[in-house]
């Protein structure tokens, strides 16, 4: 009886069994690469906003402190988006006829909120609190990047769990003195690890990696 498959197909079957390992590995790698890509995390993607508010101008150019607008950052979980009144502190006089700022004036007149597009949105199953991070010497810049150089706001970090854990496992890599947490363009000392370990002790920073620290 004639054979259905030619003798050479043996090679193919052996090759494909051998190759399956690589194909699986490739698939896994593709999945990893995709979920870390800025397409999936939206990191580095500028968001459209109803008013093109520039942190580069307000923070970098004029030197306004983060807390002037984000008033609750030191005392609560959320940093707070300023009410329109805060914009009008200056813009009732400066640029007060600019068409770009009309939505701000309209919001002030009508007492309706400006609906900004949220940039940093952690998943609802992750707990995060700004105030404790600042109190332990974790700077704005470490997570939010050089906000003073962003004309339109984007998310700097991936906000993925592995990114959180990088610091939660080794806080000494990023910690600063409390006086420096609102600084932009801070240069870490050459011996950051030794300095960081010293601060970890001084501020009693605990490397929190238990699930329920964030998933509570």
């Amino acid at each position: 009886m004639a054979q259905i498959f030619h003798h050479s197909t043996n090679t193919f079957s052996k090759l494909s069994i051998f190759g399956a390992v690589f194909i699986l590995a490739l698939l896994l790698w593709l999945f990893g690469a995709f979920s870390r890509s800025s397409y999936a995390t939206q990191a580095g993607v500028d968001r459209e906003q109803p008013v093109p508010f520039s942190h580069a101008h307000h923070v970098g150019g004029i030197g306004i402190d983060c807390r002037y607008c984000h008033t609750s950052v030191e005392t609560s979980a959320v940093a707070g988006i300023p009410p329109t009144k805060t914009c009008m502190n200056c813009h009732s006089q400066v640029w007060n006829s600019s068409p770009t700022l009309e939505p701000v004036r309209e919001s002030f007149r009508s007492d309706r909120s400006i609906e900004w597009t949220r940039v940093h949105d952690l998943p609802d199953f992750a707990y995060f609190n700004h105030s404790i991070h600042l109190k332990k010497g974790m700077a704005c810049e470490v997570c939010h990047g050089r906000v003073d150089k962003m004309p339109l706001m984007h998310q700097q970090a991936s906000l993925q769990m592995e990114w959180c854990l990088d610091c939660h496992r080794n806080p000494e890599k990023y910690v600063r003195r409390r006086e420096d947490v609102f600084k932009m363009g801070y240069e870490p000392p050459a011996d950051q690890l030794a300095f960081g370990l010293h601060l970890v002790k001084e501020y009693k920073i605990q490397s929190r990696t238990s699930c329920s620290t964030c998933h509570r």
């Binding site: 698939l27 593709l30 999945f31 995709f34 979920s35 999936a40 004029i62 030197g63 306004i64 402190d65 807390r67 002037y68 008033t71 979980a77 959320v78 707070g80 988006i81 009410p83 009144k85 805060t86 009008m88 502190n89 200056c90 009732s92 006089q93 400066v94 640029w95 309706r112 909120s113 609906e115 998943p123 609802d124 199953f125």
Partner: protein
């Protein structure tokens, strides 16, 4: 294969975005679209009744008070310095002459803290201005808590003193450093 990867990326995000409100989120339920509800007028949280008139208004009767409602310590002044540099410096500048960055960009220049009228003004006046605004200056009641407003006043007093200091104010052993 590519399809599989895309499929994995397109899972439902129900757990990421649960049917609950986060602070300041938009709401489809309320007419003004605010999930964070404004307080009903007249609401007082337990323990937050503003009984201390001196502390919360800076007034005694019609008069601005001339004293601080609590002892001014080094910590209070340092707290005031920090808060001054966040909320006041943009207009009043770090020294209090009123040439801050926002003023250089077109805001009307506020009076210097070093003129006689403000050097002689009672502390309650500064508190009142921060709490209710004055002239073109908006109020800062929402941005700066009452205790911090008092701390800022303590620091303004430091600034005022600094501009009229004499060599006699410097401790004798440090005078040589200043003269350099």
């Amino acid at each position: 294969m590519v399809g599989l990867v895309l499929l994995a990326g397109a899972c439902r995000q129900d757990m990421h975005d649960q049917p609950k409100y986060e602070p300041l989120e938009a709401s489809k339920f309320f007419a003004d679209r605010r999930a964070s509800r404004p307080l009903v007028a007249g609401t007082v949280a337990r323990g937050h009744l503003r009984e201390d008139v001196h502390f919360y208004t800076g007034k005694s009767g019609d008069q601005d008070v001339t004293t601080f409602p609590f002892a001014v310590t080094r910590e209070v002044i340092e707290r005031g310095q920090g808060r001054y540099n966040v909320y006041c410096r943009p207009c009043h500048d770090p020294t209090g002459y009123g040439l801050g960055m926002v003023v250089r960009r077109g805001l009307r220049r506020p009076p210097s803290f070093h003129i006689d009228r403000l050097r002689e003004a009672p502390v309650g006046h500064f508190y009142d201005v921060m709490t209710n605004g004055f002239g073109l200056m908006p109020d800062y009641a929402a941005q700066i808590p009452a205790r911090d407003r008092w701390a800022i006043i303590a620091y303004i007093r430091v600034l005022q003193r600094s501009q009229y200091a004499t060599i006699e104010d410097v401790p004798a052993d440090k005078r040589a450093e200043v003269k350099k």
